[in-house]
Symmetry: C2
Subunit: 253 residues, 2 copies
Amino acid sequence: MSGGARDPGRSVTSRVLAILGAFDAAHPRLTLTEIAGRSGMALSTVHRLVAELESWRAVRRGDDGRYRVGRLIWELGRLAPDPLQEIARPWLQDLFAGTGENVHLAVRDGIEVRYVDSVYGTRDVPIVPRGGRLPMHPTAAGKALLAHEPAWFVTSYLSRPLERPTPHTIVEPGRLARDLAQVRLRGYATAHEEMTLGSCSAGAPVLVDGRPVAAVGVVLPSRRVRELRRLADPLLAAADGIAAAYRAAVAPP
Amino acid sequence: MSGGARDPGRSVTSRVLAILGAFDAAHPRLTLTEIAGRSGMALSTVHRLVAELESWRAVRRGDDGRYRVGRLIWELGRLAPDPLQEIARPWLQDLFAGTGENVHLAVRDGIEVRYVDSVYGTRDVPIVPRGGRLPMHPTAAGKALLAHEPAWFVTSYLSRPLERPTPHTIVEPGRLARDLAQVRLRGYATAHEEMTLGSCSAGAPVLVDGRPVAAVGVVLPSRRVRELRRLADPLLAAADGIAAAYRAAVAPP
DNA sequence: CTGGGGCTTCCACTGGGTGGAAGAAACGGC
DNA sequence: GCCGTTTCTTCCACCCAGTGGAAGCCCCAG
């Protein structure tokens, strides 16, 4: 460009993105003046660029005269992969590095847990393959998620016959409900040979705005059950770290 | 700009948006050359702009060398209100204009239906206020939605004691399941004084990729039950119209 | 070794971009 | 209803950032 550009060296592209970047979770509706202030540009420049963005429906002017993010961006946003996994990976790596145990990341899929990522060494415990799905109540990650689902979901989950992959699986609604209450209290769930004989695990929920977005888990051979306690702190730290990072991604500074 | 611009009159802003607009549901991953082709710009221009977009994380280069929509856009997309209501309104208006009956739009919220919009005249049937919530099984819109939820959801919904606001409410799991099968077959649901004595209704699901995104409904006073049949066609047309428009919004041309 | 497709870099040329300022419109206090 | 304040819109002289053709690079398949 040119003109009396007070700030030469700044590209038009960066200006356009600065305008879009002025919107965040804390400021989803902005006036022209606010956009100018937040993006550090002259009001008239913002005025012109915003008008063009509006004609492309990248932003939209509401009835209140304020601008919001528009439909074009909404549509494009759906094309981007959910960054959950990407955000979580470093924490999984750290957790694995710090403990040496097999760790994984899981999300709820209907009434099952889906294991979406894992970091593991050579420990001899069974690994659920990526994308693998299991019922929720016999797994630590599943219980961590279930414990934080809305009451109606938990109630309806408990009010049906539950699978029992091992004799240790908890299938009595009352006992399972008490277990879940315990999970909410402690902050993490455990499972002792409830899914597979020979291994136990712990799982902590990744809570974003109270919603269980995912769960982080560790698996150990049963003979080392006692060590689960030791793993609780790093596990919770990882889960909270992921939650904070995810929250930050959804609501940038 | 300037230079040998083959296409003077085109602003930088429009170029940036044309690049982003090159991505759609059918083309979520694009090479540089493809972006250039789809946006009608010189490769070198695209190269430079895309590099800058990447530095802002508006796009992102995958391991395969192709570009995808980036995190910035993903984050911004979450700030835009879901255009469902906006998309549906014209169809609701048309439906109301064509039938003269009170019509509404509803979505599922947990295990209830939430009425998010309505268009109504002076007909003397009770109106559910915007944002109002009701159980799913006694309402036509609720049954339209429920009928297309995944099996696990329906099963668990049916396997608990169901509220019975009127003596006509269907609460027997078997009968309700048969009713839902019927809904899937006919394409729309009906409710005869199942929620409120004195009024009946019909509801059709808005199906996008098989998912019940919303439901459109009409309410009549009970004495005019017979007219529900007559309303089925326009109702289904509206639901399909909304589905097509919503689908188009999620996956632009 | 050669051809080709996709990506990257370079650079002479130029017209689209800039922001201060003035004017219009909407708002709010009295 | 009047007037000061805030926000938005329009205008325009100035000029540098943007453009795209072309040449070079890299990798892979034949």
